[in-house]
């Protein structure tokens, strides 16, 4: 009796975990299966494996979605936005953390309250402003908006992190005659690496996967990002599901590679962002 009970309490968690894992994997499994099969094979047996693993669907999907262009667009938008977010907000975070003037505290509170504002509130004025200044259907326009919207969370995270760094190093550098920008870029910025990584992974996932902003601002096919390309592609080809699923896999691969490579940082980033946000 006692032996059996220990047995059950060990086995039960395993069973629950495996069942939940299967449910989680299931949509991925269907995706992969569909992408390799022909419509005929899908019709004959939905869950059966294909006889041969053909790449035809992928090749066609690559061509039709113009995958390399969409990838390039997403890549440029994400990378350029990240560089400017990190540059602008690390400096601001440093200034807020190190200055004891009330003005900076006020700005900090302002940034934090900005985090509450849902995108819908600023959507219409932002779109109106975008049209006025030619930022709609313009890659640099959407980049500017991403930089803007990325400011408050990043400033918030940087400020908190800088406050935790001892001032001694900076004081020593001051005595050596270094100016404030020198101190920041040579001494402080390298120390910010952990939180910079956090901001980079959080913002990469946000900008790379974002759908709402491109839907509003990027209608021109030449500059559409991956999620938007997928959206319009699916609208047209949702009768050819095998092709559509091959396109889904193509779109998933970059972010999954990013995930497997950066998992440690992503998990850390999620926790850091959550605890502070």
């Amino acid at each position: 009796m006692e032996g059996k009970r220990i047995h059950l309490s060990k086995i039960l968690p395993c069973i629950i975990t495996i069942i939940l894992a299967i449910v989680t994997i299931w949509p991925f499994y269907i995706t992969v299966l569909m992408a390799f099969k022909t419509p005929r094979e899908t019709f004959q047996s939905f869950y059966g494996l294909p006889k041969v693993f053909r790449l035809d669907n992928f090749i066609n999907a690559w061509k039709i979605t113009n995958f390399s262009l969409a990838f390039k667009n997403s890549f440029i938008v994400t990378m350029v936005s990240l560089v400017f977010i990190v540059l602008a907000t690390s400096m601001a975070g440093y200034a807020i953390a190190r200055s004891n003037k009330k003005f900076y505290n006020f700005i900090y509170v302002l940034f934090v309250s900005g985090m509450m504002v849902p995108f819908q509130v600023i959507m219409i004025p932002l779109y109106k402003m975008g049209r006025k200044f030619g930022l709609v259907n313009n890659r640099w326009g959407i980049i500017l908006i991403y930089i803007c919207l990325g400011v408050h969370l990043a400033v918030f995270l940087y400020t908190g992190f800088v406050k935790g760094i001892p001032k001694e190093l900076e004081e020593a550098a001051t005595i050596d005659g270094a100016s404030t920008p020198q101190i920041f870029f040579k001494v402080v910025f390298p120390l910010l690496k952990p939180i910079t990584m956090t901001i980079l992974v959080l913002d990469t996932m946000w900008i790379w996967n974002d759908f709402f902003l491109p839907l509003l601002f990027l209608q021109d096919t030449k500059i559409r990002t991956l999620p938007l390309t997928q959206f319009y592609f699916y609208g047209k080809y949702n009768t050819q599901m095998n092709l559509a699923f091959a396109a889904f896999i193509l779109a998933m691969i970059p972010i999954l590679i990013f995930y497997f490579a950066m998992q440690k940082y992503i998990v850390k980033g999620i926790v850091a962002g959550a605890v502070k946000g």
């Binding site: 869950y47 509450m116 504002v117 219409i124």
Partner: protein
Amino acid sequence: MGTSKKSSRQRWFFIFILPSLFLFTISIIIPVIQGFILTLTNWDGIQKSYDFVGFKNYITLFQDELFYNALINTLKFTLGVAIFQNVFGLLLAVLLNKSSRVNNFFRTIFFMPAVLSVVLAGFIWTYVYSDGIPALYDMLNLKFTSSPLGNPDMAMIALIIIQLWLCTGTTMVIYIAGLQSIPEDIYESAKVDGANHLQSFFKITLPMLGPAITINFVLVVKQAMMVFDLVFVTTSGGPGHCTDVLSTYLWETTFTNNQAGYGSSMSFIFLLILIIMAMLQLKFFRKREVEM
């Protein structure tokens, strides 16, 4: 010398903060003010001219049945997601808390959907519901009528399930971080005192997880209240407004029905609801945390 250095430092601080302040001003402060002014107009979103109508938009809003419908749907969605995402997230965290190669593998699996774009997830699940589940039913010789996304009674539940699939990994990760901050020796001494697994879960784990629970609820509620992409790409609010949530109804009002002024007033009520919910939750959970 000392003072001039100090003032030069202050000058640099000001220069450092300027870019962020500028970006924040043009993207949040000015749009919020402009947005509020728009709520007082009848602007259609296209034409250059519009009239001021005072608070008429707000009055219309409080009589708009579709707005209440969207609000109730949003709350239903949020309630379902908040409860189950936390239950499953905590369950997975407890199951996979100990760091081992097998557990890390499972954590990787459970978090995987969270990195996908919602657009992809929405399309994949649309197909899972329309073809994947029927095929499964077929194999088990059961009858399956139609996709739950097209069924007014099931559509909301179907959406909640997709959201759970997408986001439970994030909740799990935060709970694992919380679990790992609980010192191991508390469990040891509880064991010595004769507490079983369930007892130590309810008497130690749950109370010690207080902050993590607060964070997860606030985050999940905020995320669920603001849901847009998922509904937009799967049901676009259908069938028959059954899954219309605040953000999709807002989109419809603004861009499909060309009522930008009215849409703006809805967005401000939306903001107000979000603020009230966040404050209520913080009050509720902080109080409980202290009691425990």
